[in-house]
């Protein structure tokens, strides 16, 4: 009974944290565009939160730079369980054009486990929406 309630509330209102690990801002503005009236991800109960301690879902953009690696692990540890990670954009998946640069570790899955990958450079807001909805469907 309680489990069902928790599951219901988790699906109906996932709070997200936007984590930029060295992205070029393109995916970031598309994520914000997904939150604003044209696409409006809030109709699925998704709310952008500023701190990892309140978040259920981490939306990560960008390749992982060496300097921010420890911070990402810390932010991931601060997020309460159960937590999910959506990697948005080609950089978060593999490193995109930056792959092979001396300061880039590759995709975000080199550092933390990822649940959903959204491809695109940058991913369109519709694609991000689709990724979020697919994640909610899996819960």
């Amino acid at each position: 009974m309680l489990n069902r309630l928790v599951r219901w509330s988790r699906i109906k209102s996932p709070w997200i944290l936007h984590l930029n690990s060295g992205a070029c801002n393109a995916c970031d503005i598309e994520i914000v565009a997904a939150l604003t009236p044209r696409f409006d991800v809030e109709r699925f109960g998704v709310l952008l939160k500023a701190t990892p301690r309140h978040a259920d879902v981490i939306i990560a953009t960008g390749p992982v730079t060496r300097q921010i690696k420890d911070r990402i692990i810390r932010i991931y540890d601060q997020t309460p369980d159960p937590k999910f990670v959506i990697a948005v954009g080609a950089c978060a998946m593999s490193g995109c054009v930056y792959r092979g640069a001396y300061n880039i570790m590759g995709g975000i899955d080199q550092v933390i486990p990822v649940n959903v990958y959204v491809p695109g450079c940058p991913a369109r807001p519709d694609a991000i929406l689709d990724g979020v909805v697919k994640l909610l469907g899996k819960l």
Binding site: G22, N25, R38, G62, Y98, G100, Y102, I104, P122
Partner: protein
């Protein structure tokens, strides 16, 4: 009693990873220290391993918001190296995309400023209207963010009659909406009161610290590469350089809204006077050994690319100086003697694009160099001067 407050790299007020260290006494910031490098990707080194054409797409990915600025700046430099003259129609389309990008960037900034000032409905309104210009850009180039319209020697896609009409219609909608924002700004005393007097940067300091773009223009410094050193077709297009003399965040908002109107004007002119002809010329794969500096007025200020070629099909060196980097010393200056609550607003007012700024290791030197310049007694004198000059906030008005 002094405290040091670390802010970032992941912080509610910041959208991108950057670390600020504030030394505060009570509520007042005494000193600010910017720590960079969280977004450093080593892009300039990557550019040396790629061909001239591949680098267009790499430079485009320096930044997502001003992607066209970096790509155009790079392409202009390469065209100079290869001694190419792009056809007029190509330049017109390139300029059109540049101005549409400026519109999208300024609308985005207006929204962020509203959000940081606690005016969230303003944020939602501007971002809804921003979708109009995003649709136009998508129609012209096929992409929403990384337009990839530039090619060495011109542009990749032409504009037909139907698209021309659609662009003019879209501009009409945007114009009425922007007039509405201008009115909101003028008639909303809480908004004006929140922005006025915050993040003061005097004209002298703006010159000393080499502020660029809307930051400099809001400090009454009419500085615009489009006018000072016209590139593409800006020498043919009539437009004015917008300035404000309030030297604060309010001034920066006014400058950006006025620039929106100028951009609409430029776009309309370009669309009505679009010359017929080719859009691109054929480019060679190699460039003769030479070096070139290319300047471009990005939405955030002056963008400079230095390119050196050595006769092969790859550049020997590509150096990028993005406007946000140029504005850091001025930001530290603005944060000093401000309140903790003003940090997000002041920081947002430079329209920071951290991904633009972080490619080289040299930037650290710029910061330490800046720290040496200012002494504490100078700061105190500046603070006294500021409070003497500052008008009482209750009478703050929207400077038309």
């Amino acid at each position: 009693m002094k405290f040091t407050i670390p802010i970032g790299p992941q912080h509610p007020a910041l959208k991108e990873p950057i670390s600020l260290r504030m030394t505060v006494e009570g509520e007042v910031i005494q000193d600010a220290d910017i720590r960079l490098g969280y977004n450093h990707r080593g892009l300039e080194k990557l550019a040396e391993e790629r061909t001239w054409i591949q680098n267009i797409y790499l430079t485009e990915r320096i930044c997502g918001i001003c992607s066209h600025s970096h790509a155009t700046c790079y392409v202009q430099g390469v065209e100079k190296l290869m001694e190419l003259n792009p056809p007029k129609r190509g330049l017109y389309i390139r300029t059109l995309v540049a101005e549409l990008e400026r519109i999208h960037s300024h609308l985005l900034w207006l929204g962020v400023a509203g959000h940081e000032a606690g005016f969230d409905s303003f944020f939602m309104y501007t971002w809804r209207d921003r979708e109009v210009v995003m649709d136009l850009l998508e129609m012209i180039s096929g992409n929403r963010v990384h337009y990839a319209i530039n090619a060495i020697g011109g542009v990749r896609r032409d504009i037909d009659e139907m698209q021309r009409k659609k662009i003019l219609d879209g501009l009409e909608i945007l114009k009425t909406r922007t007039e509405y924002y201008f009115k909101i700004g003028a008639n909303e005393p809480t908004f004006v009161g929140r922005l006025a007097g915050v993040g003061y940067l005097s004209k002298e300091k703006a010159v000393d610290l080499c502020a660029v773009g809307p930051m400099a223009r809001a400090s009454d410094l009419p500085q615009d590469v489009r006018k000072d050193d016209p590139y593409a077709v800006y020498d043919e297009v009539p437009f004015d350089v917008c300035t404000a003399d309030t030297c604060d965040v309010l001034g920066r908002t006014v400058v950006r809204i006025k620039e929106l109107f100028e951009s609409y004007k430029i776009c309309e002119f370009l669309m009505k006077n679009l010359p017929p002809g080719d859009i691109a010329v054929k480019a060679p794969t190699r460039a003769k050994p030479n070096e070139v500096v290319s300047r471009y007025e990005a939405p955030r200020g002056e963008n400079t690319h230095y390119i050196k070629s050595n006769g092969t099909n790859k550049p020997e060196r590509l150096k990028v100086r993005a406007p946000t980097l140029a504005n850091y010393p001025a930001t530290v200056e603005m944060l000093k003697n401000g309140f903790i609550a003003d940090i997000p607003l002041i920081f947002a007012a430079i329209d920071p694009c951290i991904c633009c700024a972080e490619r080289t290791v040299n930037i650290v030197n710029a910061r330490t160099g800046e720290e040496k310049i200012l002494r504490f007694d100078e700061l105190r004198a500046l603070a006294e001067e500021r409070f003497k000059k500052m008008p009482p906030k209750r009478n703050a008005v929207w400077p038309f």
